[in-house]
Symmetry: C2
Subunit: 311 residues, 2 copies
């Protein structure tokens, strides 16, 4: 019953997104490759049929996490053919995006170093070229994932050799023929969150997404896209809150709610992808209950851990 | 930087309430007595001037927590004279109530055994008689704290020798002359929570408290009292949620909000006393955001800990 990690061991998280959400044997093989690395804790896996995409969440000892990330990408490169992939979610690689997040006892610089080490191996061992994004980026026009992924796999394949912006940060001037190109990066924890709207009219989801996202003048540090979810008959506003201390969950949610109210559409519920940081959850309770002087320090279990760690 | 407790060491919590919230030198002495015991993690302290009461929250190795609880009660017995104590909150002892809560690696029976061991020492070493309440109770009419404390110190002093219900579970048939009688018990985590109302009319708080509390037909597992807070010019509905899986925070809050709306009174905010369990906070976010399939398993840090512990 003793944990793999000591109470103060550094913990790195990785949340790779793979371009397969329908054939679960393929996803199983990727998960097995990741979870089979000693020192890695598999935290969650989820596959979405409409997006045709899977998100695996794991954490643990940093070197083990890098090893597991490369192993997961290798399993995806062996099994996913992007030339035959269709799904609602934009994608450019079999392993589409591989973010590393420093959770405990690590700086962002540490996470950047681990991300680059994974990126080097993805190119040298798997021959998949890599974009380094977010905190790992080497050039300003490669920071933002949406900028890198514009036009998706097909457009990148077409112009990677001729458009300087499209050139990978590691690897040659052509995509991997079946596995495309992978974005690897280090970033702060983000909240991947879908709001489900009771309509089949995707234009409403797209309009609300445009209204709330920062890039079109909405909420800072909020990314949003509107998707049809034909298998369920509803649409979703799919958000990434990239800095929930700037725009907390309740601010994003209430903005979508107001916009949905304005469109006369009911919210059916929300879905989290991956895991949500505990301080974002605490801030939610603090807001809705108007709790005075509230923070994660007032929550029992994290408070015990934090006092114990400094004892 | 290594914690005092190993990742799987059992953890007992104790949240004694002392009848002094104004003279902080006295509260400091009590806190020092508690925090000075090796193996104890002081998590929080708070003193309320209007209630004239302090709540100390600590946790750690069970035997150390029992030792610290007895040391804290001893410091209170040395310094607090209940015959001169006035405050909004009902009280019967210098150390009024000493609950123990099993947090990790302990059953409720374990916590009951620790509570009884503390109770024996409070009587044998400090000559303060003890009621054993909640899970530790030896008789059904001693389970509920409100039943034990009815009439407070003065009524208990008067009739402890003649009223069979008033007889302590441990100790003789007279209260300690200055320190009264102490309730010691084991219980599940509870949420001690005040809703602050923008009025100086305490009858409104008392009416809302009566409306929401379980004992008068309101919400199950909710206790509530209305208090005037003259130092702040407002009133409060002071709640204990003794089983937040039965009545979650949002249900209690929305009930108070509806009653306050009905009375035409604004909620100024809320105050938590002590600490709030993380699953209650997670349930709050789950409710307000309508998050599907949400639980504490979806929150990053507790998820890492729980997977790590079983790895």
């Amino acid at each position: 019953m003793h944990g793999m990690t000591s109470r103060d061991a550094p913990i790195l998280e990785c949340i790779p997104n793979f371009s397969e959400g329908r054939d679960l044997r393929i996803v199983d093989a990727i998960v097995d490759a990741i979870a089979g690395v000693p020192g890695v804790l598999l935290l969650r896996r989820e596959s979405d049929e409409d997006h045709n995409r899977s998100v695996i969440t794991f954490a643990g000892q940093p070197d083990a996490v890098v090893q597991a990330a490369v192993a997961g990408v290798a399993a995806a490169v062996d099994r996913i053919d992007l030339t035959r992939h269709k799904g609602a979610h934009p994608r450019m690689g079999a392993a589409d995006v591989v973010p590393f997040v420093p959770i405990r006892g690590l700086t962002m610089d540490d996470a950047v170093a681990h991300a680059r080490s994974a990126a080097e191996r993805i190119w040298s061992e798997l021959r998949v070229p890599v974009y380094l994004y977010e905190a790992s980026a080497l050039r300003p026009d490669h920071i933002n994932l949406a900028d890198l992924r514009r036009g998706q796999f097909e457009a990148i394949r077409e112009s990677i050799a001729t458009d300087a912006h499209r050139a990978p940060d590691i690897g040659g001037l052509s995509v991997h023929p079946a596995a495309g190109i992978t974005a690897v990066g280090a970033r702060k924890p983000l909240i991947a969150w879908n709001v489900l709207l009771d309509t089949s009219d995707v234009s409403i989801a797209k309009r609300i997404a445009r209204e709330v996202r920062g890039s079109s003048g909405g909420l800072p540090t909020v990314k949003a896209l509107g998707f049809a979810i034909p298998s369920k008959g509803y649409v979703q506003v799919s958000m990434n809150l990239t800095d929930y201390s700037t725009t907390p969950m309740h601010v994003a949610f209430e903005a979508v709610r107001r916009a949905a109210d304005g469109a006369g559409v009911t919210i059916l519920g929300t879905e989290l992808i991956g895991l949500v940081p505990q301080d974002a959850i605490a801030a939610t309770a603090g807001h809705y209950f108007g709790i005075r002087e509230f923070s994660i320090e007032r929550v029992l279990e994290p408070r015990i851990d934090s006092v114990d760690r400094t004892a």
